[in-house]
Homo-oligomer: 423 residues x 2
Amino acid sequence: MTFFGLTEATVAPLVRELTRGDLDRDETRQRFARAAWTGISEPGDRVAGALVAALGAAGALEALIARAQPVEFAASVADAGGELGSEELAEGMARWAPRLASGLAVIALQQARRFGVRLVVPGDPEWPIGVDDLGAHAPIALWVRGDPALLTQATGGVALVGARAATGYGEHVTMEASSGLVDRGYAIVSGAAYGIDGMAHRAALASDGVTIAVLAGGLDRFYPSGHEALLTRIVEHGAVVSEVPCGTPPTKWRFLQRNRVIAAMSAATVVLEAGWRSGSLNTAAHASALGRPLGAVPGPVTSSASAGCHRLVREFGATLVTTPDEMAELAPRDDREHRRGDGLGEPVGADGRHPAARGLPPDAIRVLDALSTRAPRDSGDVAARAGLSPAAARATLGMLELDGAVTASAAGWVKRRTPAAAR
Amino acid sequence: MTFFGLTEATVAPLVRELTRGDLDRDETRQRFARAAWTGISEPGDRVAGALVAALGAAGALEALIARAQPVEFAASVADAGGELGSEELAEGMARWAPRLASGLAVIALQQARRFGVRLVVPGDPEWPIGVDDLGAHAPIALWVRGDPALLTQATGGVALVGARAATGYGEHVTMEASSGLVDRGYAIVSGAAYGIDGMAHRAALASDGVTIAVLAGGLDRFYPSGHEALLTRIVEHGAVVSEVPCGTPPTKWRFLQRNRVIAAMSAATVVLEAGWRSGSLNTAAHASALGRPLGAVPGPVTSSASAGCHRLVREFGATLVTTPDEMAELAPRDDREHRRGDGLGEPVGADGRHPAARGLPPDAIRVLDALSTRAPRDSGDVAARAGLSPAAARATLGMLELDGAVTASAAGWVKRRTPAAAR
């Protein structure tokens, strides 16, 4: 039994700190491997998810470290009852390889210990089973600050999401919604962004309710920084969750993937206020694709901050909701089956398509995320940051250069400041 | 060929004044009979509608005057391809008889002449064919002030309706909707009430559009009186319509029936602002029952003036609409089939059920309409005013007395001022 090039003496104490109860050697290895995978693959990587499901996190990691031949790799997945083509495995290995340094996982675990971050994996009693409906796109593990036991309450809870650019009306309605749902016994799940998200958490805390914030970056640094005090309070009274390890910055890609976790964790999603292209529509699309009930709060047709909500009702079959009671109806507490949704097929946006980024391929979003407007980076660095193979990174950089979104110099690639195709 | 106890010399000049073009003797009789029927039966009387459809207006009127035996009456209806039971015919005759005085029709026609009112009957080029979807509940004739030729434009037009108690928001959105639809070539149909209706007409006039007001009472007196100037302008530039003859006051029953005409006339109905129990929800229910597209404009969930609109979207399948373009989509101009709806079965509310009067039977609404809080009336008078048989009027009065809604004295029946069951 190996520890991926590390010693058991290095790994075991680190893993033990992150976990409740005793672990045997294999459990320790599996947990370490899951932690490592959250840094090696980008959130929502279907091939990584299927691979871990077939071979176990440790087996998959070992094969990766051993640079398995894709054809043999695919055969062993098939032996384990999984199904992955050698080509997609080869592509996966190419995009995972740039991040395959065992030191990174150790650093992430050390940081986690420093910040009191726990690791929750599928099968743990704390695991929010709703995310399993994401199938191969499900998180491989979740990092948690606060009380991990509260995560199970997300399963019957309601996600309250909306625009950063909220109006007084939107904030008022969010406050009523959040405190009303808390009074009815629901946990409030949201993304801790400015505007609607922040108000949802605040009102839940003010009503002594359970609230869970799902972040796009590592839990060593709270984002947005203006919500550091709020997130600290959520840690004290609720839980803050991420599927990426400490040290991972939030990127556009990770925000989009974070949204799928919010939608999948909760029994229902309600959009309280959202512009025509608000990111919260992406959360709504995930909820809808998962067969989770989706609600939208209407507002004045003269307010662009409600245009996205109206769009959800008109075009995406969202239920119009106006009161906490109507929101609670979306996630009935006496109908436990309801909570799990229908798990209808592939989640929308698993390919990274976001209303605001429509037409921009997932790789392009991730490469733009990996670039700076000032510091030039070489394509290998870009590949590692984007979680793409060097070849894919180079091809995407070339495409984006043609679009005028990025420029190359001798020092490396930079993102242009206001490219048409970028965010 | 008789003229219902009158001479041709009395009838023909009156009828001729109300009609364009030449009429032969039979057409004159039929038109006079239709005019008489609009006063004899209450709007939406299914039995009257079916009878006129089977025997023609003149034949039906003659049989009524001759006090035909219900069984023979039913047989002659069956011979003509109609279907009416002798019992419902007997009940119909009992409720029509109290109003069966030929002098009333003559007075109505004289009043119509005085006010420049025209009579439009099915088959006329001006007839708004949408109302035919009401089947036996369709108007027997329509009285019109203004340009009757504009009525055909209602068929492809949009009904914009809403609460009397409109907010500044509702009026603003109505103005945008009405002028935007006029700009796109749509006629605006509404009920000339205060609030949303009035704004819909005003904005249409201001945009030089076609607008049609449907009233619940006779056209000799405009209701509401505060809209007399507005209705005079609609007469000059559009058309004002009613299915009841001059001299007929608007009653709750007639408002409810008027709403079915608004919905049936138009290609689509949009509710712009409505409280939880607004009368405009009755118009919406008619539109929906007729298979006509129904739209509702959302507003702040904190505004009770939008609660009815949200209810329509949540409970009655209304399409949420936010712009004139989205409203126009409900009544596409290039899809003429769309205009006619599906004509799905019996219209809701043909029985007079109104959200605000739920639980109160149609006869009770009509009897309450027929009573005064001050002037006592005997049951025969009440029967004639309510368009009910004396027996039905007496029975209903007794029921309402038990409910405490009406009281009897030696002088007659009066309505109590704030009865629980009344309006």
